[in-house]
């Protein structure tokens, strides 16, 4: 087995100057174990949406890295995220996916916790413990950092991690493309239906890099485009939009977040879409007009798939979804996908979108099936002794980035690769692995929060 630490993540395994990345980082057990400690125990992770727990006592069992966590709202309405593990012998205290409860009771020996995490029930407390057990020391383990942002719930196990909005930096404007109302109003999304969950036999970084902005793989979806599953009459729903906009890949070097965007020409109206349903078409046309009024020039920016480091994928532009790539060992990923809609959208629109989302995304969605085929076989074909000796190529567009990108009067935050003519780049993928290598090597947030040094120097 390769000694990952001695090779050095940046120089040996992730060679960004040459645009080469070792297959070891996808298939090596030792590296995977280290990821759990250095990435998933330190970064901010997506946990769920407040609309899943509207009332006191509501809970949703989610995951952070490999670990099960409980997202719940206590009796006073406060939101918590707890490790789903009894303090006595570790049994899961909640084995339901979601529900409402006054207490989380361990079925093993019966320790019971309130929705605020406090240990409230200990069998034979008087007789066996002689009332000596200090219950205040044995509550559920709670994340040290939690952030509620426009309905979404994020958490980090690292008390030293920067606050979530600082972790995002200016990337928050791109996250808002997923979380704001389609008409440009602040927030206002809700989860549509249940959470889709499924397993893929591949390393979690295969889907993560795909959602960073891998536009090169569109050939995989050619058959779906030919079938025409989109809601706009034929072919891709967004083809007209794509043809008139600048196509950009945007990366945040210091944070590890990245996304694709479409940048519309100034004063150009949005082309019609959703022609299959007049009600839906009218709704979105109305929302687009409102969005332009509320957001001004920024309304020219249209979302495309992106990724908040390390494992939260954004799909802002229909199907509007958030996906989390939960690691389940080096060779397996459990995907959880949340579907969002405007809470205020008419029922006809929500029903229409539900049908569209189901046939597009998830384990039964035609587009996502294509992707899973690729990740599955790419991973399997990279595990062998011989295969591991040969790196993957990430050279596409290397050196063609722009630090201060502006088009027709609008500045785009982040380091940008304009792929309108180039058609594709691996700029965003390199950014994912740049940050990945930094996390794997850094001993503390003092080394990771480099933007703080720049601010201090100023």
């Amino acid at each position: 087995m390769t000694d990952a630490r001695s090779l050095g993540y940046r120089r040996g395994l992730v060679d960004l100057a040459a645009g080469r990345i070792s297959r070891e980082i996808f298939v090596n057990e030792e590296i995977y174990r280290e990821e759990l400690e250095r990435l998933f125990a330190r970064a901010w992770l997506f946990v769920g949406h407040e609309s899943q727990i509207p009332k006191p006592g509501d809970f949703f069992v989610s995951g952070m890295g490999e670990e099960s966590v409980i997202l719940c709202r206590d009796r006073t309405g406060k939101v918590h995220v707890f490790l789903n593990s009894c303090r006595h012998r570790g049994m899961k205290v909640c084995r339901y996916d979601e529900g409402t409860t006054p207490v989380f009771t361990c079925p093993y020996h019966g320790w019971s916790y309130g929705t605020d995490g406090k240990l409230v029930g200990v069998p034979y407390f008087r007789e066996a413990y002689h009332e000596k057990l200090d219950k205040s020391l044995w509550g559920l383990i709670e994340v040290p950092q939690l952030c509620l942002y426009k309905g979404t719930v994020w958490a980090s196990w690292d008390p030293m991690a920067p606050p979530f909005l600082e972790y995002l930096g200016d990337f928050v404007g791109y996250l808002d493309l997923t979380l704001d109302g389609w008409d440009g109003s602040e927030g206002g999304t809700e989860i549509l239906g249940g959470i889709q969950k499924w397993l893929i036999p591949c390393n979690w970084k295969f889907p993560a890099e795909n959602f960073c902005g891998d536009s090169y793989h569109n050939i995989s979806h050619r058959s779906v485009d030919l079938v025409g599953i989109g809601p706009s009459g034929s072919g891709r729903r967004d083809m007209q939009e794509r043809q008139m906009a600048r196509r950009l890949h945007v990366a945040f070097y210091e944070r590890g977040h990245q996304t694709g965007v479409y940048l519309f020409p100034k004063d150009q109206p949005m082309p019609p879409s959703y022609q299959h349903s007049p009600v839906v078409a009218e709704y979105f046309a109305h929302c687009e007009a409102e969005r332009r009024k509320k957001r001004g020039e920024w309304a020219r920016v249209i979302g495309s798939p992106g990724e908040i480091f390390p494992n939260t994928a954004l799909h802002p532009r229909q199907p509007r979804t958030i996906a989390v790539w939960h690691p389940r060992g080096p060779h397996q990923t459990e995907v959880w996908r949340w579907y969002l809609v405007d809470a205020s959208a008419p029922p006809e629109v929500k029903d229409f979108l539900r049908d569209y989302y189901i046939r597009y995304s998830g384990p039964a969605g035609m587009t996502e099936q294509d992707d899973m085929e690729n990740w599955n076989y790419a991973h399997a074909a990279s595990r062998g002794t011989i295969a591991r000796r040969y790196p993957y190529s990430y050279e596409q567009g290397l050196g063609f980035e722009t630090e201060r990108y502006e088009w027709q009067g609008l500045h785009i935050p982040g380091t940008v690769m304009d792929i309108t003519e180039a058609k594709s780049s691996e700029h965003n993928l390199r950014n994912l692995y740049r940050r990945w290598a930094e996390f794997m090597e850094a001993e503390s947030w003092d080394e990771l929060a480099t933007w703080r040094f720049a601010r201090a120097a100023e």
Binding site: P102, V103, T105, P107, G110, S112, V120, G121, P123, Y124
Partner: protein, 68 residues
């Protein structure tokens, strides 16, 4: 030895007898099969507990008290 009581079936207001001889009235049932929230009606071993509301462990419930 008495049959175990299925506490998941007990509604608020039901009176129960505990293994130390105390009696209590169920206030709420979280339906986890392990705990009940109940108010002590009698407590021969510790009269100070009468009137207090506590979590009662399923294995401490000996039987359902008949009548008022």
């Amino acid at each position: 030895m008495s049959e175990p009581v299925n506490i998941r079936l007990l509604d608020p207001g039901t009176r129960i007898v505990l293994d130390d001889g105390a009696t209590a009235e169920i206030v709420s049932n979280p339906l986890d099969g392990v705990w009940l929230f109940a108010r002590y009606l009698t407590a021969p071993d510790d009269p100070a507990r009468v009137g207090s509301e506590e979590m009662i462990f399923a294995q401490d419930v000996v039987e359902i008290q008949d009548g008022p």
